[in-house]
């Protein structure tokens, strides 16, 4: 989902996540109306939202711990997901000792560890510098290739949207509505170079830019 800031991207995502109720209409996940956070949904916020008193490992196992003591299998899942995002060496560190990019990776692992069928990501890499952001995008796709989770990803960066998505939804403000949906059929893996220079992407980029104005 792309759109200018304030157009309601995050609000829509929070509705899907069951964190707030829509004023009108309803949201259904596999036929079921969403009234509270769905157990099969994982959420990645704009900020990492880590608990500073917990180690990286303990932060990632939080989704299990709120339901009781983590089982052995769940502990293994935590280890595995930290391996996937490349943070195994930092398992015992506190979030305060990590860089912004690493913190956001912890945040992503925390939502992946429960193996959700839908992952909602609200500008998760917005606060990172351009290079880290590209790295994170590449990494996200790598994880997605393995997990095959449905991801709803909010951003205001057109390049990021085109690089990641199968489908780009364009929103506009006041009233918040969906203007256009663009299918990105370009085969994977894609590169950022391709997204920036390929004429096919160039066309899509123009279309999105026009829709946003």
């Amino acid at each position: 989902m792309v759109g200018r800031s304030g157009c309601g991207k995050s609000t829509l995502l929070r509705c899907i996540g069951g964190l707030i109720a829509p004023t009108t209409g309803s949201i259904k996940i596999s036929g079921q109306i969403v009234t509270e956070p769905h157990p099969q949904i994982g959420y990645v916020f704009q900020q990492p939202v880590l608990l500073p008193w917990r180690t990286v490992e303990a932060n990632v196992s939080l989704p299990f711990e709120v339901k009781g003591k983590p089982t052995k299998e769940e502990k293994n899942k935590v280890k595995k997901v930290l391996e996937i995002v490349g943070l195994s060496d930092y398992a015992k560190h506190r979030p305060g000792e990590l860089s912004g990019g690493m913190q956001q990776r912890v945040s992503v692992s925390r939502s992946l560890v429960t193996e959700p069928s839908i992952l909602l990501m609200d500008e998760p890499f917005g606060a990172l510098d351009a290079q880290t952001r590209e790295d994170m995008n590449v990494e996200l796709l790598r994880i997605w290739e393995v997990a095959k989770t449905t991801i709803v990803f909010v951003t205001h960066d057109i390049g990021e949207a085109l690089f990641l998505s199968d489908r780009v939804v364009i929103m506009s403000a006041r009233p918040g509505k969906i203007d256009d949906i663009i299918e990105v059929n370009s085969p994977r893996p894609r590169s950022f170079d391709q997204v920036e220079n390929d004429p096919e992407f160039w066309k899509m980029r123009q279309r999105i830019r026009k829709a946003l104005h």
Binding site: P37, Y43, F45, W53, T55, L62, V66, R94, G96
Partner: protein
């Protein structure tokens, strides 16, 4: 390239070591920490020399008396009694404070009903209650513990409430997204977040318990450092009064130091070793 670098070098005329200023400040600070008490004693000595021992006994006389008081063992029952009262009052006040603080942070109704009474207990001059408590409970420990608990309790109510209700909204939202129950959110999020606030409440409460216990002893006690002060007033024994002051001061400092140790241990347990800089800034007296 080399030109650029030369330009850069000439532009930045920094002192040899940017931290040298900081270092000398640190040394000055340590120097002052050591020197100030001696300076204080010297001034005390000079003023005392110009007055009679009845008004202001000199530091030497006071410390001699203090020494003999410890050697003869006469100080111990008083010190022991007052310490017991402080600790009992502190524990009682803290438990009540934590309980009420948690209650009013969990329920709006409880807050509306209970808060006025909490304010009343604080608005009421507690020391004015002391004579009545002596009538009810006699000259033993009980009235002192109650007074100490009554004043120790308020900072804990306040800090517990403040700590538990200032959890960042983003973290609360995370717990909601994780479908955490109310009790889990309290135990795994709001309480750990409130720990620093609660601990600064403990610190104030501990010092206030000391004040409460001593002042309550003024009203009626057979034993305790406060009772000792009243006795020395009755016999015009200013020296003994100063001995009591010194013992009380050292007791207060020791309690605060102990507090600092516990707080630091808790912070290390929560945040790991890298937190040492935070703990030293929050417990200034116990370096």
């Amino acid at each position: 390239m080399t030109n650029d670098r030369r330009l850069l070098k000439s532009k930045i005329k920094s002192p040899k070591n940017p931290f040298s200023n900081f270092e000398s400040q640190k040394i000055l600070g340590q120097f002052l920490v050591i020197v100030t008490p001696f300076l204080f004693i010297l001034i005390w000595h000079l003023i005392a020399a110009g007055t009679t021992p009845l008004i202001l006994p000199g530091p030497k006389d006071v410390f001699m008396r203090l020494f003999s008081y410890f050697v003869s063992g006469r100080v111990w029952p008083h010190l022991f009694m007052t310490t017991q009262e402080i600790l009992a009052g502190f524990v009682l006040g803290s438990v009540l404070g934590l309980g009420f603080g948690t209650l009013i942070s969990e329920s709006v109704i409880a807050r509306k009903v209970i808060m006025p009474y909490i304010i009343v207990t604080q608005a009421l001059p507690k020391f004015a209650l002391a004579p009545m408590l002596v009538i009810w409970f006699g000259f033993g420990m009980a009235p002192k513990v109650i007074i100490a608990a009554l004043i120790a309790f308020f900072p804990l109510v306040e800090n517990t409430y403040m700590g538990l209700t200032t959890t960042p909204g983003s973290q609360l939202e995370l717990f909601r997204a994780l479908r955490a129950s109310r009790i889990t959110t309290l135990l795994k999020l709001r309480v750990p977040h409130a720990i620093p606030a609660i601990f600064s409440g403990f610190r104030v409460a501990l010092m206030l318990s000391l004040v409460g216990a001593v002042v309550a002893e003024y009203v009626g006690a057979n034993q305790g450092l406060g009772a000792l002060i009243i006795v020395s007033q009755g016999t015009l024994d200013t020296e003994l009064m100063f001995v009591s002051f010194v013992v009380l001061t050292v007791l207060g400092l020791s309690l605060d130091w102990l507090y600092g140790l516990v707080y630091k241990a808790v912070l290390v347990k929560l945040y790991g070793k890298s937190i040492s800089n935070i703990s030293s800034s929050t417990s200034r007296l116990s370096v």
